[in-house]
C-alpha cells in the first residue's frame, strides 16, 4: 500500500515568496480545537495552529505564527486558490486576515462532487487521495490538533508540520488529476454555479430567533402532548401496549406498530389517527426543542452549516441545525419564530412551480410549454386538462416528476393502485412529451444531466435508479437555478453593500434580512437575480417569481 513518506515533500517553516500571478496554489489551514468546538467548525471556533501552501505539490511553506498569515496570503494574491473543503479554510482565515483579490477559488471536495456526484458517496481528502493518487492517507496526526482547552495548546512538532504540509501538497496533486478529467461542463458549473454560490454561502447571516415564542411553542406542544397522551387507554410511547390494544381490543392482528401499519388502519379507527398525530407532535417537539435555544449565539442568531452540493442532484444541504426542513404546512408556528432583528425586515422570494418549468424545459413537451406560456396558475391549467382538483394535480405532477410509481401515488392520494395507474396514464396521454422523456431517462444506465449540464451518476443495481434518472435532472436543474440566483444576487449586492443579506435557502426559496430602508432595493435585486438565473438555466421558459416583505419568515412564504 502506497503511503506518503517524508521524501515526497519538502517543507520549510517560513513565509512563502510572492507567487507569480495565475499560479495554482493549494493551501491548508489547521486549527487547535477543543472537543466541544469540533462539533461546530462552521463557526469561528478554535485557535490558529498552522497554514501550509504550495504551488507545485512538492515544496511546501508552513507558517505557525498567525501574525505571518496576512503576508502569506498577500503573497498568494491574484493566484488560483485550491483547498479541500475550502468553505472551512476561507471562513477561518477571514477571521484573522483580509483575503486579497484572488484569480479563482477551487474546492477539491465540491469540485469532485460535480465530477462524480452519485458515482461515489464520500469526498474527504482521504477518499480523493485513495481514488486519484492510489495513496493511503493516515489522518492519525489530526487528533493532535484536538486540545483539552485553549490554554493548553501544545508545541507544534515536526510531525504536525509535516501533516499540514502533506495535506496542502496532496490537495494540489488531486486538483491536477481533477483538471485532467474535467470537461467544459464541469468547469462551467463550478465557475458559474457552485463556486460563486460557495462564496455567497460563506457570507450567509444566521437567522434571528424569537426566543420567547420558541419556548412558548415548545411548552404549548408539551401540554398538548400530555393532554393527548391522557386520551389513550394505553401508553402511546410503549409499542407493546399499543400492539396489545390493537390486537385485543381492535382485533387487528398486527405484528408491528410502525407508521405504515398504523396508517393503514387509521382510517377505520380514530384512536389510531390520534396516535399518529401524537407521534408527529412528539417528533416535532424533539426536533425543534430547547436544543435550538442553546444554539442561539450572542447576536441572537442561529448559524447553520451550508453544503453547496451535498446531494447527488447538486442540491444544497443545511445542517447543525438543518434550517431547510422547518415545516411549512402542518406546524407553521416554527417559521413564525424566525424574525427580522429590530429595524430590519425579512424579504422572501420563491420560484413559482420551479420544477414543473424545468420538466417542461427538459422534456420539451409542447402541451406543457403552451400551458406555461398562458396566463394563470399552471396547476389550475393542468387540472382542467386532466379533470382533477388543483391540489390533486399538484401531487400528481410532482409525483410523476419524482418518478413515483402507481403504488406510491396511490398511497399519497389515498386511492387504489388501479386508479393511480389510470391517472398516470391520462397525464401521459395529455403530456406525451413528458412520457417520452421519462421513458428515455429510465433507460439510461450511466448518468443523466441537468439542464445546465450537471452529471448525476446512476447505479443500475440500485432499486431507485429509474426514479433517480427522472428525478435528478429535474431536482438538479432547479437546484442549479437557485444557486445561480444566489451567486448573481451576491455579485450584484456586493457592488453596493459590504454585508450580504441572505439568511436562508430552501430549495426554490431565498430569504434575506435587511434594514427597512433597503427593503425595496433588496426586493428588486433578489427578483432580478432569480429571473436572470431562470433565463440562463432554462432559456425560453417563462420564470415566475414572487418576492414579499414582512417581519417574520412566515409572512413571506
Amino acid at each position: 500500500m502506497k503511503k506518503i513518506s517524508i521524501s515526497d515533500i519538502v517543507y520549510t517553516n517560513q513565509v512563502p515568496p510572492k507567487f507569480p500571478a495565475g499560479s495554482q496554489i493549494a493551501y491548508d489551514l489547521e486549527i487547535w480545537v477543543t472537543k466541544e468546538d469540533s462539533q461546530k467548525l462552521h463557526r469561528p471556533v478554535g485557535e490558529f495552529a498552522s497554514f501550509a501552501v504550495t504551488d507545485d505539490g512538492y515544496n511546501v511553506y508552513v507558517i505557525t505564527e498567525p501574525e505571518n498569515l496576512q503576508e502569506t496570503v498577500n503573497n498568494m494574491r491574484d493566484c488560483t486558490w485550491i483547498a479541500q473543503n475550502a468553505s472551512f479554510d476561507l471562513k477561518q482565515i477571514s477571521r484573522w486576515v483580509e483575503i486579497p483579490p484572488v484569480q479563482e477559488h477551487f474546492c477539491t471536495m465540491l469540485f469532485d462532487r460535480i465530477l462524480w456526484g452519485g458515482f461515489f458517496d464520500h469526498f474527504s481528502l482521504k477518499d480523493l487521495a485513495r481514488r486519484y493518487l492510489e495513496l493511503y492517507l493516515s489522518k492519525e496526526a489530526r487528533n493532535a490538533y484536538q486540545v483539552e482547552s485553549y490554554s493548553q495548546i501544545p508545541f507544534m512538532d515536526g510531525e504536525m508540520l509535516f501533516y499540514n504540509a502533506m495535506d496542502a501538497a496532496i490537495t494540489w496533486k488531486i486538483f491536477q488529476e481533477q483538471l485532467k478529467r474535467a470537461k467544459d461542463d464541469h468547469l462551467k458549473l463550478w465557475r458559474e454555479v457552485d463556486g460563486p454560490a460557495m462564496l455567497a454561502f460563506l457570507e450567509f447571516k444566521g437567522v434571528f430567533i424569537d426566543r420567547d415564542r420558541w419556548i412558548e411553542i415548545f411548552e404549548e406542544n408539551g401540554k398538548k402532548l400530555e393532554e393527548l397522551a391522557g386520551t389513550f387507554p394505553f401508553n402511546p410511547n410503549a409499542p407493546a401496549q399499543v400492539k396489545e390494544y390493537c390486537n385485543n381490543t381492535l382485533k387487528l392482528k398486527i405484528d408491528s406498530t410502525g407508521a405504515r401499519v398504523i396508517t393503514k388502519h387509521a382510517k377505520k379507527h380514530q384512536i389510531l389517527a390520534d396516535l399518529l398525530s401524537y407521534r408527529k407532535l412528539e417528533k416535532r417537539r424533539s426536533t425543534y426543542g430547547m436544543n435550538w435555544i442553546e444554539m442561539i449565539e450572542e447576536d441572537g442568531r442561529i448559524y447553520s452549516s451550508w453544503d453547496v452540493n451535498r446531494a447527488e442532484s447538486g442540491r444544497v444541504a443545511s445542517s447543525n441545525p438543518n434550517l431547510q426542513t422547518i415545516p411549512v404546512r402542518d406546524t407553521p408556528e416554527y417559521r413564525e419564530c424566525i424574525i427580522a432583528a429590530p429595524g430590519n425586515v425579512i424579504i422572501g422570494g420563491d420560484y413559482a412551480q420551479q420544477e414543473i418549468r424545468t420538466m417542461a424545459y427538459l422534456s420539451k413537451d409542447e402541451n406543457l410549454l403552451k400551458l406555461l406560456k398562458e396566463d394563470g396558475d399552471i396547476y389550475t391549467n393542468i387540472a382542467k386538462e386532466i379533470n382533477k382538483t388543483r391540489r390533486e394535480t399538484k401531487d400528481i405532477v410532482l409525483g410523476i416528476q419524482y418518478g413515483m410509481s402507481p403504488y406510491g401515488l396511490a398511497k399519497m392520494l389515498g386511492i387504489e393502485k388501479k386508479e393511480a395507474e389510470a391517472i398516470i396514464y391520462e397525464f401521459f396521454q395529455k403530456f406525451y412529451g413528458v412520457y417520452q422523456w421519462s421513458l428515455k431517462q429510465e433507460n439510461r444506465k450511466t448518468f443523466v444531466t441537468t439542464a445546465y449540464g450537471r452529471r448525476c451518476w446512476l447505479n443500475p443495481y440500485n432499486s431507485q435508479h429509474k426514479r433517480n434518472a427522472i428525478n435528478n435532472p429535474n431536482q438538479g436543474s432547479a437546484a442549479d437555478m437557485t444557486k445561480m440566483a444566489i451567486a448573481i444576487f451576491h455579485r450584484e449586492w456586493r457592488k453596493t453593500f459590504p454585508v450580504f443579506p441572505l439568511i436562508l435557502q430552501i430549495h426554490d426559496e431565498l430569504v434575506a434580512e435587511v434594514k427597512e430602508e433597503f427593503a425595496e432595493f433588496c426586493q428588486g435585486v433578489m427578483e432580478s437575480s432569480m429571473i436572470m438565473a431562470g433565463e440562463k438555466i432554462i432559456p425560453g421558459i417563462p420564470v415566475k417569481i414572487e418576492v414579499k416583505i414582512g417581519k417574520k419568515w412566515s409572512d413571506v412564504h
Binding site: F120, D121, R131, E134, N459, N462
Partner: protein, 162 residues
Amino acid sequence: MKCPSCNKELILPTGFEEFPILIVGNEPGNENKPFDRNTSRILFAELGKLGIDLNSCRKTNYWMHSRNGKLNCRKFMEAQLAKEAKGKKAILLMGAEPVNYFSGRKLGVSEVTSLRIESETSFSAPIIMASVNPSEAFRKGIGELRLALKRFANALEQEGIL
C-alpha cells in the same frame, strides 16, 4: 462444514481450488454460497466487463460467525483462509471483515478500498486488493466497487495473471 468450536454450519468455498484468484467475502447470505444470487450477479457482470470470469475464481468467506468473535472460532476461520490462500496469485478482499483481518485489525475497508494492501497475516499472495462489499452497490453509488475491480484487473494484467 461445521465450526469445530461452536458447531455452527459454515459455508463451503466454491470454484476449483486450483484457480489462481481467490475472492473473500464477508458474512454470506442465506443461500449456502459465499456470495448470494444478487451479489453474484453484480460481481459476474462487473468482473466480466474487465475480462475476469467469476466462475474461474475460487470464492470463500471470512467473518466472525460467533458472538463476540470467540478466539477458537476465529482461529478456525483463519486456518481455513490460510488453506484457501495457499498458492493463490491474487486475493480480492471484499468487505470489512476480510480487510480488517488481513491488515492486522488496523484498517477499515472504506479507508483502503481499491488499494493493494500488505498482508499482516502468516500468509500472503503477490496481489492482495481491498474492495467494498459488492452488496453496497444495492444502496450506494457503484463507483467504489468499479474502481476496486478495475484496479484489481489492472494488477492482474501487470502480473501477467489475466
